[in-house]
Every structure is written in structure tokens, then in C-alpha cells.
Symmetry: none
Subunit: 143 residues, 4 copies
């Protein structure tokens, strides 16, 4: 079961609100369903042109590998040649930086993922989690 | 000058409201800036998986050729070989069906485009124009 | 909710049994989940090399457009320039020939799709439906 | 001479049985023929979305370079720039992690390859070899 448009729009709104509250750089926020297909997206004024692609690659990468990109980014540092080959194998659909966060339901099943790009990876990831919390979709698994 | 996220979200909301008012099939609505980069997107529950790509290709195609896809679709029927070669030349970033509508400012300058996919091309285009009108961005050029 | 590997393998087995029962040419059978990701695949000895790609494009195309490729193939004949642009917009992930059949649950929700290539489109589609039936997953919507 | 569908399905069944016997994470298992074209594939419930692509890139990479990916992964660590250029040169059809294992006949001729992704590379490779053994296709060359 994938998240709904209403849930996805709530995540986007919550993530952007968090970004403004901490004066983050302009953000791009995407929410993908469990199959990694776009459900909702917003790019703030002034965000640079690649933000859509990077945010999408963070969310798709998290779904594709089954873990948040904060974890993937750490692992990639220890085995860059493998993770770079993964990037090639999946046609560039992965970005090794925090900000790609998996969304799960109460049963722990993956329902989608959030991807944010614009500020530091850590700030992007914090805003993604804030959006998930504000949408009432926070689970241990997604923390 | 490109349209803002606020304007793009207003277009998306207006287009989806129009779709619901006429019981359209589930729609995907994208708004691109003047450089054909995504600003806002929403895919209604139940819309099929290609709706993002098709909506984007309608909006990008309208911007890329400088005219709404309703016009492009008509012209393509009369010269399919050329327009198919355009599709190849631009990496598939164009869809020959109504629903890709250019947005202009009061001076007639292109500020972005709306792309919708989900129902008939005519319905998609009507919803796109309704979204532009509801956002207060309607111009002769966009009609 | 996507179909399980057990269900997907039952569909593949049933489709191949149908193919043998009617002495079809060597077939390739793929089952995709609701997000168009591969779950199970089998290519019979002697099937030509493109069968994997064509079977996958039939199943992904059906999911992407929300209807079986038998219907899409008919529609494409009436508006080739649009449907060829769709092929470009989705990176070739669609094949306009019968043999791509959507699988739904009892509630009518899409759980995946079957794609078959090897014999005529009609025979491919019959084998796909036979596989769905033999797996006990037949619904009005899938007929 | 390439392996048959019957042999490929036996490898998949044996590899998945090994994975279950050691409580491996959900696996994706692909068997390619000597020309690197898919013959059989299965993705266990819960395996993440990129597992198909990674498993295929392991099997194709092993065939493409003529050695198991366990060997390639070691070599790549010592010369990352070259092996990353190979990844680019072959369009991403290689993954530098154990789990891609070549299958040979009694004469030592390559008949195909197995690719597995889901657990650690070492576990993936063990399951691949177990599948080959269970199918009665084990040769010194494949060990």
C-alpha cells in the first residue's frame, strides 16, 4: 500500500515549513510511492536546477536499496567502487547523501520515500523527517 | 522571469479542483518553469505510473516548441515523420496530445508551462487552463 | 499491495503450460509488481534475444497506462504519433502489442502485470490470462 | 551452448533454498545465458527495488569480464579508476561485489552466469554457488 497524495502533500508542506523555520537554503522536496514513482514535488524559488534530479535520486536510492541515504552515504565511503557501480547499474537513480528517507506504515511496510536537496545533506534529512512527522507518518523504522 | 512555487501550487490546486468538478479520471499535474525544470507536481491516487512522464513531456514539449501541445498534436498528424524525429532529437521530452499549456506573464513572456495527463487530452487541457485561470495567470496567449 | 513471488511463479508456470498445450513458439514470461519492478521471469529455450525486453515492455506499458496492451495496441493504431511520443517519453518502456495484462486483487486494485512475448500478440495474451487464471488471480478487471 | 530454462530454474530454486536455510535477507536471483540475456529470475518478497538491476549487473559483469565478481571486486579496489571506466563503457552492466558467478559445462565452456543481490556480497555468492551445485552444474572453474 503506497502513501496517498494527501499524505505526500502533507509531507512536502511539513518539510518546507521546517526548512523555513531554520532558514535553510531553497529546497526541492519530492515524495515517491513504494514503487519509486513521483506523487508530489515542490521546488522553492531560488533552488538550483538539479535539485529535482538530486532529490529524486535520494528518494529512489533509499527505496531501491531499502535504507535511508544517510546510511548509504556512510557505506559508500567504505566501498566507493561498488556503490559507484550500483549508480551505473541503476541508471543514476541514486544519490549518496543524506536526505533520502523511507516512509513506512505502522506494520513497518514501505509506503514510499521522501527526497530533499538544497541545503546540507544533514539539514535535508532533518527536513525530510520533520515532514514525515508533521504528516503523522513517523515510525521507528523511518527514524 | 519564471513563475513562483506559490503560483505553481495554485495552478496544481486549481487544475485538480477542475478535474474533480468534472469527475475526470485520476490526473497527474506538473508545472515547469521557463527553463522546463519542475516546480510543482501532484499525482492523484489511482493515476497510472506513466502519468508523471507524460504530463512532463506535454509541458516540456509545449515550452520546447513554443506552443501548446494541442497545436503540436494537430501539426504532428500532418507531418508525423518530422515530429517523431523531434521526439527522438529531444530525448522523448515531448508528447503529442493536448494538455501541455504555456503560461505567460502580462507582457506575453513565457514564465512556464503546465502539463496534465490522466483523462482525454481535451479534458487534460481544459483542467490545465482552469488551473492557470484559478491562479490568476490567464493571458490571451495562454488561451 | 503487490503480488508475491509465489503468485508470480504460479503465473509463469501456468502461462508456460498454456503455451506448451497449444504448441506456441518459445515464450518469455515476466511478472512485474504494482510498481513495475520484476518479480519473476522465465524464457523458454529457443526464444529469441529480445523476448525479455519486449515482454517487460508489454507488462510495464500496461501498468504505466493503466490498461492491457491489447487495448493500447488498438488505440495506438488510431493515434500513432501520440503513442510513439509516449514510447519516447517513457524511455521505451512500452510495447504496443497484446500480451501485457494487468493483475488486480479482489478489490480491483492493481497488484502487478504479466508480459509475454514469443508468439502472436493474441497467443501471448491468451497465455498471460491463462497464467493469471491458473494462479487463482483472475478478476473481471483482468479479463 | 547455453544453459536451459530447466537448469536456470533449478539454479534459482537451489539458491533461494540456500538463502532461506541461512536466514539471508530477501534475495533477487537472476540466471543469464552465455550471451548475457536473462533466462530466469526471482525476487523474494521484501527485497528492495534495485535488487533486479544489481543482480543482473553482477551476472553480466562476470560474463563480460570472464571472471566472478568476487575477483572483479578485489581487482577494482586496487584500480578503481579503470574499473569505473569499464562500468561507464558498458553502460553500467557490471557491479563490483561478490555474487556474480560464471556457470561452465564439463568442458569448461561458459554456459551462463548467476547473479544474486540482497544480503552481503559473500552471502550472495555462497547462495549462487549453492544454486549451481544443486542444479548439478558445479565445475572446478565455477568454484
Amino acid at each position: 500500500m503506497s502513501l496517498t497524495l494527501e499524505q505526500a502533500q502533507a509531507i512536502v508542506a511539513g518539510a518546507l515549513a521546517e526548512g523555513r523555520s531554520r532558514a535553510a537554503k531553497p529546497l526541492a522536496v519530492i515524495v515517491l510511492d513504494a514503487g519509486a514513482h513521483p506523487v508530489a514535488f515542490a521546488r522553492e524559488d531560488g533552488a538550483s536546477l538539479f535539485r529535482f534530479d538530486i532529490a529524486r535520486a535520494k528518494a529512489a536510492g533509499a527505496l531501491g536499496m531499502g535504507m535511508d541515504t544517510a546510511v548509504l552515504a556512510e557505506r559508500a565511503k567504505g566501498n566507493p567502487v561498488f556503490f559507484q557501480s550500483v549508480s551505473g547499474a541503476v541508471g543514476g537513480q541514486i544519490a549518496f547523501s543524506p536526505g533520502g528517507v523511507i516512509v513506512r506504515d505502522a506494520a513497518g511496510c514501505v509506503t514510499g520515500a521522501v527526497g530533499i536537496s538544497g541545503d546540507t545533506g544533514e539539514c535535508d534529512a532533518d527536513c525530510a523527517r520533520a515532514g514525515i512527522v508533521s504528516a503523522g507518518l513517523d515510525q521507528e523504522n523511518a527514524k
